[in-house]
Homo-oligomer: 307 residues x 4
């Protein structure tokens, strides 16, 4: 299949949609991003790369980082991780406290905020230090993206802390149920740091390859997790990767994926490729508007659904 | 792959688990079923059949019928169906009224009870008569299973009506939000009739083939729905097919599937095969205990996950 | 105190507010009522009557009837009644299913719809017939109002049944939890009949006297309930009598009271008097707009708060 | 009436109940209190005092302090206070986050934890300093109790902070809805300080007199709030003073009252007296077991219900 031609066709078709929706505006570092941007990168398990748009432009990966911390925690804790969080879709907005209270402080899955904070907390507990834990997270991202220059934007993570009250409420609630090892503020700060990692679509699509290849990077042959763990991460991405629009995404796109409020969406075609699309304006569910449409077009044109 | 050998291996391994859990006991017709039963059937898109256990033994398909009514309604109403119901996981038990009230009488998806009743109601509305609608549903099931002897058990549907109060509560609530065209009692009665269809695992695995083949029966070449609709039904089965354990099922099995309280579970390997497993004892989520484990073993041994 | 002068002063002050708000419009029999009406009647335990406005004009008492059925059920079942319902404020709209589901079909109190339906059901169960039960209810109302001409408006109760879906949902949900002895439709029909009783403010203020006098009518000396039961009914009126605005009513008026969507509000000054005010236009909580304000003025001018 | 004889009779009757239930055990300072204690004090608006049991024994007033901070905030902010919190019963446990999230960070009333924290925050905002605010609160309590020796127990307030996660979750959630002026930790710390005030039943009954007398201390003639504000505080105590058992308390006791987890309960007979009962063991709602029963006996024996 001529992927480059397909991407270019999509880019042309999607152009009128770029900028529709609303850029995340709760912190200056995100609200000042130019909404008229778009990028789409894919990389096959053979290493062939295709792309259109601003594929080198860095953006804040935000919740996409939850895939990476989940991978690390699953590798460390294996099944014991599920004592602290589940793998069920939440049926509620990403930052809701209601369900967390009803379910005694155990988050539904690793991709809602409470779950991701619990995962980050578990990594801090394992490495016995929040700085060390973040270093491990950053190194893992550099490894899977095969790029040692990847870093995080302290301006983003610091300004997140100024608007952190709801996440602190989630963390304090989990702590009150004894489902947090560290102080809420420490877990939340570290969470914001990995959310503030900056990457471009080329790097992020590359970083998905281990999930397209049973846990082993097909280009470097580095092994990260088992094939079974890989399938399970992909399953959780499919059922829970887009907050309260996960069903819609599975329905319309049909690929395991994860979005971030920075406008990025990563996706995996198991056995075939890693994908990243980016456009900063978000739809009402907090997922990239043009990015979601572009992915939908991609599966329609290529038939690359898992279903 | 030697599927017959794999099924026999699973049967042997699963034997100690058969009967563990609890048979559905809210109506006599279900509670009197012998829990010590098990059957596993697969059929490939080429028509090769494999099976172990009581593959000819009829059981009540119950909620598995929701896949068939959803297919019919999607074919008739296309996208307009989504004005009446969504495709999001509910994050709540299958018969909860809470979410239905908060969301103004619009059920989350076609596989929770409220959604399935709304789907049945839409079919009655289209065919302008509840008997006619049920006839169409039954004929559709006979068609896709390629078996004209399939029928329903009136004892089951009648005794369901004696315990129908919660479903009537759901239907009346939808009606109060004007999301039901017919009288609640009519929609619920018809719903119970299609839940009371009796089939065996051979027939049900056969009935899944159109979903494994883009909407067209690969053996009879009859076309039912489009490839895109097929992918979407499979996606909804994956995200919502097992009530509040849908995430768990996706996580552990990784195939689109749908369970019923009669102990049956159907599943699809897109492009490859239809599957049905049956064992009457249920786990705490209301899904077949031995059936779920057998499917998990099947994907582990064959690697046939979609992820 | 010159009550007549105070009532006339209130009438003058309240006139610009009469008609503000919105007449109940869910059934024709209520929506066709002229909103520009107002009446205020009081009667002391010595039998002195005062009144302004259309004090002879009949209206639909609606939820005010719940006070009377609660009195009858308390007399019959005594403490056993509380196995079926509580006396706590609900913190939710009057017809919500959410709380009823969480609390296993046991309504919070006798004045939300579910609780009143359960009370009516308990009367039907006791008298073994729905017509007999309604006859007893109607006779009780005639007794306490000392007026044998009081009757109900079948047009109202029949047209309520055409919009009964939400109440049927509540009744079916209670039935599913085995907290309803009769068929949901029978309990709901009888409930609508006593809601459809027609009275004027003179009759309703008179009907409150037994609650102002420890359970014994001070004028006829007929005894209905004990002083202790009387205090408890008054307490439940104060905490739960105005749905989700009960706290507001206690805060601003400070008298035990009960409102109906027909625009009537009854209130009691323990030891002193029975009160009824009526004006059909409702505020956003479903309580009479001008009626609530008039009662607030009455306690401000007379100091007759219980606090 | 011979109040002293009545109190002694109650003391004798209640003795077998003292110690039943469970002392608050979430912090050592409370869990180490001897459960076998009881005291009951009343003081009339004429200054006559009666009492039985350990009426001089100091205990932690805990949530009773919310009455005093509510009084101060109402005096300062008048009606504007209700932009930040309501006066409706919550229908939920005292520390639930569910309702607070649904209702956009606006607490239901000043007596659930979230509401009390918001009230404390409003006082800190007004006095521009948390230490100053606490000084004002403490001085107010000393004034109304007419006792300058009243102080707080820093051991209690400090150990509360070690278990403050749920209250911090509430405060952070309100802050995220911009319904908190100060940092969550500051509001919560000050809240714990006024909860840690130590008083005995003699002092607390004395401190209720202004609420029994229209806002003016009948013995010192100091005026604190208006008669209308007084009635409203009493109304909120009646409808919301005992968390999710407020309806039960109104039903069984029928007096405005407020309980604390230290085992104290204050109550008011408008126009007549201030009351305080204390016994450390709590019933399942978190209210003093023997204290609640003693108050119930008191109103039965004296007929001093407001209803």
């Amino acid at each position: 299949m001529d992927y480059q031609a397909i991407l270019e066709e999509i880019y042309e078709e999607i152009t009128p949609e770029i900028g529709r929706g609303k850029v995340a505006d709760y912190i200056p570092a995100l609200s000042s991003v130019d909404p008229q941007q778009f990028a789409f990168s894919i990389i096959t398990t053979e290493g062939e790369r295709y792309g259109v748009g601003d594929v080198q432009k860095q953006f804040s990966i935000q919740s996409i980082s939850k895939v990476f911390t989940f991978t690390l925690a699953l590798d460390i804790y294996s099944k014991n991780l599920y004592e602290r969080l589940g793998v069920e879709p939440s049926g509620n907005p990403f930052n809701s406290l209601v369900q967390l209270e009803y379910e005694q402080g155990k988050p539904r899955n690793p991709f809602i905020n409470a779950g991701a904070i619990a995962v980050t907390d578990s990594l801090i507990a394992h490495f016995k230090d929040d700085y060390k834990a973040f270093e491990v997270i950053l190194n893992f991202i550099r490894n899977i993206a095969d790029d040692n220059d990847i870093s995080f934007d302290p301006e983003v993570s610091v300004s997140e802390m100024d608007h952190a009250y709801r996440n602190l409420a989630l963390a304090n609630l989990m702590k009150s149920f004894e489902n947090l090892d560290n102080e809420p503020i420490v877990a939340v700060k570290t969470y914001f740091k990995h959310c503030a990692v900056s990457m471009n679509t080329q790097e992020l699509s590359r970083a998905m390859l281990y999930l397209a290849n049973g846990g082993t990077d097909p280009l470097t042959q580095k092994n990260y997790i088992t094939p079974s763990q890989t399938r399970r991460i992909n399953a959780v991405m499919l059922t829970c990767g887009h907050y309260d629009a996960s069903g819609e995404f599975a329905f319309h796109v049909g690929l395991p994926g994860k979005s971030g409020v920075g406008g990025g969406i990563v996706a995996v075609v198991p056995g075939k490729m890693g994908i990243c699309v980016w456009s900063p304006s978000l739809n009402r569910y907090g997922n990239s508007h043009a990015g979601t449409l572009a992915l939908q077009k991609f599966v329609e044109k290529t038939g690359l659904s898992i279903f």
